[in-house]
């Protein structure tokens, strides 16, 4: 192993002075939701959480997909699930989406939807003291008013502790 290693670090002062070029990409996208998620999002607009059942492995798939990745067959047996579930895991985030520091934490969590055998999706927690959140806690969806829903994951505002407490 030789003794001299290449590489020329720049501190932030030197970086300011260094010759450089800059570029800000403008790339905009619009994604069609596909067969399964289209129906899922339509369900959210109607205030319902929909899953889909694989007839082979009998798993309830939430978020739903057009095919079971394990059995590799098309799935089409839609099931309406409750809008309640269990906190599988959570975080208390003092970073916003662009990693800016924030005072009031965001509370992302994976919610296992009741009746889906442990399957669920990423969402947020609300109406809860961050210190009191526990894995295994029962939660219930808080929906936007019907007129404000547009077929988006944010049609559910967040999940709050079920039965009025933790």
């Amino acid at each position: 192993m030789s003794k001299e290693y290449p590489g020329n670090p720049l501190n932030s002062k030197d970086f300011k002075k260094a010759l450089k070029t800059k570029y800000v990409p403008t790339a905009e996208y619009a994604w069609s939701a596909g067969h399964a998620i289209n129906r899922f999002l339509t369900g959210l607009k109607e205030g319902r959480i929909l899953g889909i059942k694989c007839r082979s492995c009998e798993r309830i798939l939430v978020p739903p997909r057009a095919f079971c990745e394990e059995c590799f067959i098309s799935v089409d047996e839609w099931v309406e699930l409750k809008d309640t579930g269990t906190v599988n895991t959570f975080a208390i985030s003092y970073l916003d989406t662009m990693a800016n520091r924030i005072k009031k934490p965001l509370l992302p969590a994976v919610i296992e939807i009741d009746g889906a055998g442990g399957n669920g999706f990423l969402h947020m927690l609300g109406e809860v003291d961050p210190k009191k959140i526990k894995i295994g806690m029962k939660v219930k969806a808080v929906w936007k008013p019907a007129k404000d829903r547009k077929g988006d994951i944010t049609d559910i505002k967040y999940f709050k502790p079920a039965r009025g407490g933790v």
Binding site: Y5, P9, Y23, P63, F90, A91, Y94, D96, F121, I135
Partner: protein, 386 residues
């Protein structure tokens, strides 16, 4: 039957917060050092395998093609592989099959990443890993996935945060002995526990830095290896595996895909009892808990046991099963694809007894390196022996 594949030379740049060098210049420096160490010239290289992360990090499209000259592939058979954070260690497999298949007798393998060009930080480039239909509108941050996984792992096994912090203390300490390290530091468990909370349970000192850097090695067939060196190090097992991107449908407490990748590599290497048959390891440690998570996936201990081994000093450089003797991603730095290549270089230097102040003070025969990536779903594993 695959042919035997030897590593015969390794090189790397410093890992840096911000390099003046361009990605191509860094790839050149690491590649040149690896060739010099192997005693070969570019004309001796028959094929080149490169690993690097998504183009969005550098803001350079066709990054593989852009880097090709720096990776020594001018008018040569050349491919780029990418499996997220698992890319660096995967290049060990990527290069391996060039030789094992009998197609080539030599392969230069290069990993490069320059994360500082995404200015002031690459958060925006990371965010596009989240599902575009049902996750991105929630406004996720990359740290969330680690916080969610870490919390699940800690809760499932009732692990104390301080037992996770010990990994950061150990790896940043080990990195003090690495001449290329970006973040070698002597810190305490309390320093970690008192550092800024970013997304609980993740705190500032639980995380590896963003880095610029490159690393490279030369692989050769047995015939070439025995001609150019008395001390080849053999790649004896490679494995890789990927789980679904639907990460909310699996239990994050255990990386099954790492287990499957490890079992694939161990079967090839004839390893039946990993904790006994493996002398040291370079598990991927972009966050401190990930080293523990990966030790368990690598079958180096039982589920939930890695924090205990760490607390007892088993994974220290002078312990029975040293992990990240290099200083790892936490200490040396984490230029994604280059990090995994650095881990393979570390196995090489340790097995040859050339790791300098980092040298593990015991007889070494077998080491394993591992990396992990994307939406907590990719496992890549390489076993090396002297």
């Amino acid at each position: 039957m695959p042919r035997r594949v030897a590593m015969i030379g390794a090189g790397m740049t410093k890992f840096m917060r911000r390099a003046n060098d361009t990605p191509k210049e860094m790839a050149f420096e690491a590649s040149k050092m690896a060739l010099d160490a192997a005693g070969l010239e570019l004309k001796d290289i028959e094929s080149v395998a490169l690993g690097t992360a998504p183009d969005a990090f550098d803001g350079v499209h066709m990054k593989g093609e852009y880097l090709s000259d720096g990776a020594g592939s001018f008018l040569k058979p050349y491919t780029r592989s990418f499996v997220g954070g698992g890319t660096g260690v995967f290049t060990g497999a990527h290069g391996w099959w060039h030789i094992a298949s009998g197609m080539f007798d030599t392969c230069l393998v290069v990993g490069e990443e320059k994360m500082s060009s995404a200015h002031p930080h690459p958060q925006g480039a990371f965010l596009t890993i989240f599902d575009n239909l049902i996750e991105r509108n929630l406004g996720p941050n990359l740290v969330w996935i680690f916080a969610l996984e870490m919390n699940r792992y800690m809760t499932k096994h009732n692990i104390k945060k301080e037992d996770i912090a010990r990994v950061s203390v150990k790896n940043k300490g080990n990195a003090l002995d690495h001449p290329c390290a970006q973040l070698g530091m002597k810190i305490t468990v309390d320093d970690v526990l008192n550092s800024e909370t970013l997304a609980w349970p993740v705190q500032r000192l639980d995380i590896s830095p963003t880095s610029d850097g490159a690393a490279a090695f030369v692989l050769a067939s047995e015939e070439v290896a025995k001609r150019v060196t008395d001390d080849p190090i053999w790649i004896e097992g490679v494995g890789w595996n990927v789980d679904t991107t639907i990460w909310t449908n699996r239990d994050l407490y255990y990386p099954k895909y790492v287990e499957y990748a490890a079992r694939m590599a161990y079967k090839m290497a004839g390893i039946h009892n990993p904790p006994k048959d493996i002398d040291f390891a370079e598990p991927y440690d972009p966050f401190d808990y990930k080293e523990l998570h990966h030790m368990e996936g690598l079958q180096l201990c039982r589920k939930g046991e890695a924090p205990i081994l760490t607390r007892e000093g088993v994974t220290a450089r002078d312990g029975d099963l040293p992990t990240c003797p290099s200083g790892g991603a936490l200490g040396v730095g984490n230029p994604i694809a280059a990090t995994g290549v650095m881990k393979l270089c570390e196995l090489y230097w340790q097995l040859r007894g050339e790791a300098g102040k980092r040298q593990i003070p015991k007889d070494l025969r077998t080491g394993v390196a591992q990396a992990w990536g994307d939406l907590m779903q990719v496992g890549t594993v390489v076993v090396m022996r002297r």
